[in-house]
Symmetry: C2
Subunit: 390 residues, 2 copies
């Protein structure tokens, strides 16, 4: 006999290649427990949550669930909208009306801010709802947790992409190729592109993270040096890279909308034009774009398993009476990669961005360190190098 | 005891994800035959061929060969350079000096033109060298052969990419997304993106091929209609798409270099700006770029096997005394997919572009037909759809 307590699960922000694995973890754990009666899924983020646009996930077939678990994107849908404070009252009324005691909120630090606000509002009304966060972001910029579900697969995609682009470049040499990598203000995924290296002269030859803004002069000098040495240069840059004054590179060349908008669309292209103008070398840019967060072919097994785990652990935490917390991961061993989950107060993660630490960026600001590589390797999984002649 | 006849293999044009499989086929078949003593590989295309920058491929280890066979790019290197006629004499002298009787030339219709010219020049000097072409191009625009090695993997990559981008778009709806697909003047790879469809409302919702140039008005009207019906539109366009007057879309918005150069870099972006300006819908563009021809994760097994086969068959043809021909493929059955190879005169393929036939383009000019799908499906392999809720 199931209890009379219901739950709702919701996604916020951009989807990932493994977000649906967290959803599957929530669904399966809710089903297996007598402590939760019905599990609903809010369609398309907070808007669907507030509007009561929910689907009943209790009766989904096991076959369908197994399929959804492996699909990229978000089976529930997501959104980037925020809830305004006036919505909290009606939302809590709706949750109460539908017998919802548990709210599982998958997202990044922005979503955790919303989750925290709902939790606090609920407490002010006598704690009708327990809110549990489930970490999710390809950007890996959530605090407290060792890493976030979604990151390992994005890292794996870019390691493969830069390796294959590097091989193409080795086959048909083109002086300079700039690869724009996702990550907003955090260089985690960009740094992970270093996993592409198998041979000493392999791409990426230079890596720039927004945590250590380079000048255009520095970038051009670095590229020139690499080009003189090996006749080509493949450069990984984070989409959020700016110069030390905070200005986007070459943005004035092609400014249409707001700076942010233009930057998000065109950093690689604008930087390529600026570098070409200054060095005289031919520079092309590559932007794998949305594939970086959605490529089903590059899913990391570890990432998919951990995404599922975080969904399961969120439900368990709720049943243990926890509230206002997010599931987080930490490594339990030095050498062999193992993680365990724990719970972090939402206040420690909500709205706070975790950047790549300075000591994991190379001294010249154009590469990452071996500590960064050791950190990311087990998350992305093995990226075997390809053989070469001789 | 090996004969005193040597061979050289050379690649021309852009690499593919399976080009090295053809190389492996050539190497293994040369090794297995007593009719060929040494096999050389010319580094970086015709320039390396003419300069005598060759590597001896006879002694490469089996392990290394097995690894190279699976690597994207080109282990030998390639180039887009052409040989001028004055180079033919010295080249033939060099081939004679090094005892080369067989020249295996992997490439597209441009490379076959060079291969034919070398063959004819050689005949004018008493036929010192037999030239055998091995088909290779992601664009699939070679005549006579049913399809070309490299195409199936590019088709598979874009089917996966458009499917995953479509799922991302379904999860976090964005009004219009234009995906730019490789293919120069031929819409083969762009049309293959239709393999991404699993459900009736799946991406790509519209497909435009250069063989049937649309007006901007038509594209905007089509997008508007799709958007009104399902609230979003994912559009696949070939990088070589132009309007009926032959002008690139929106090129005047962002013209820097030559038209061709700018077009090759920015069609998706320029078209997105033009459509956004005309429809008022928010339009983003995606350009997977070089990954389309180099992604090792999306290699089609059939494509890799056929690429290898074409390399083997080229050597066999040479040993049978054939010259001035290219290995081609044809289907041997109506229902079950099987191919056999045959030899086509270089004159039938050299410099000639094969476009998508008019009857394989939908009546409205914004999609492909089921015959096109039946043609491409076995080449790209199965693209399983992902499950959805409900």
């Amino acid at each position: 006999m199931k209890a009379d307590r219901n739950a709702v699960v919701i996604h916020g922000g951009g989807p990932t290649a493994v977000l649906n694995a967290s959803l599957a973890g929530v669904i399966e754990t809710c089903r297996a427990t007598p402590g939760i009666n019905r599990l609903y899924g809010a369609r398309f983020g907070v808007q669907g949550l507030a509007d009561g646009d929910w689907v009943d996930l209790s009766s989904i077939s096991s076959d369908c669930l197994a399929g959804i678990r492996k699909a990229p994107g978000s089976a529930l849908g997501s959104s980037r909208r925020k809830l305004d404070e006036q919505s909290f009252g009606p939302l809590l009324d709706l949750l109460k009306e539908r017998g919802v005691n548990y709210l599982f909120f998958t997202g990044g630090n922005g979503s955790m801010l919303t989750a925290q606000a709902i939790q606090e509002f609920s407490i002010s009304r006598g704690r009708e709802v327990c809110v549990i966060g489930i970490p999710k972001t390809v950007d890996n910029d959530l605090c407290v947790t060792d890493h976030t579900p979604g990151f390992g697969s994005a890292a794996r995609f870019y390691a493969h992409a830069v390796r294959d682009i590097g091989l193409d470049n080795l086959a048909l040499p083109s002086p300079v190729t700039i690869v724009e990598v996702i990550g907003r203000n955090a260089g985690w995924v960009t740094g992970a592109a270093a996993l592409a290296r198998g041979y000493p002269d392999d791409a990426p030859h230079l890596i720039y993270l927004p945590e250590r803004p380079p000048t255009l002069d520095q970038i051009c000098a670095d590229i020139d040096r690499v080009f003189r040495r090996i006749g080509r240069a493949v450069v990984a840059v984070c989409e959020g890279l700016r110069d030390p004054e905070g200005n986007p590179f070459g943005a004035s060349l092609d400014r249409a909308g707001s700076k942010q908008h233009e930057l998000a669309r065109n950093l690689g292209h604008s930087l390529a034009q600026a570098v070409q103008a200054q060095t005289g070398l031919r520079v092309r840019s590559e932007k794998p774009g949305l594939l970086g967060r959605s490529c089903s072919l590059a899913v990391s097994d570890t990432d998919a398993a951990e995404s599922y785990l975080c969904g399961c652990e969120a439900v368990k935490a709720a049943l243990q009476g926890r509230a206002g917390v997010m599931v987080a991961m930490r490594r339990t061993q030095e050498k062999l990669y193992r993680v365990e989950t724990f719970l972090a107060d939402l206040s420690l993660v909500a709205g706070i961005e975790r950047l790549v630490p300075a000591e994991w960026i190379g001294p010249l600001g154009n590469d990452i360190t071996s500590d960064f590589l050791d950190y990311v390797r087990p998350l992305a999984g093995e990226i075997p190098r390809h053989d070469r002649l001789g």
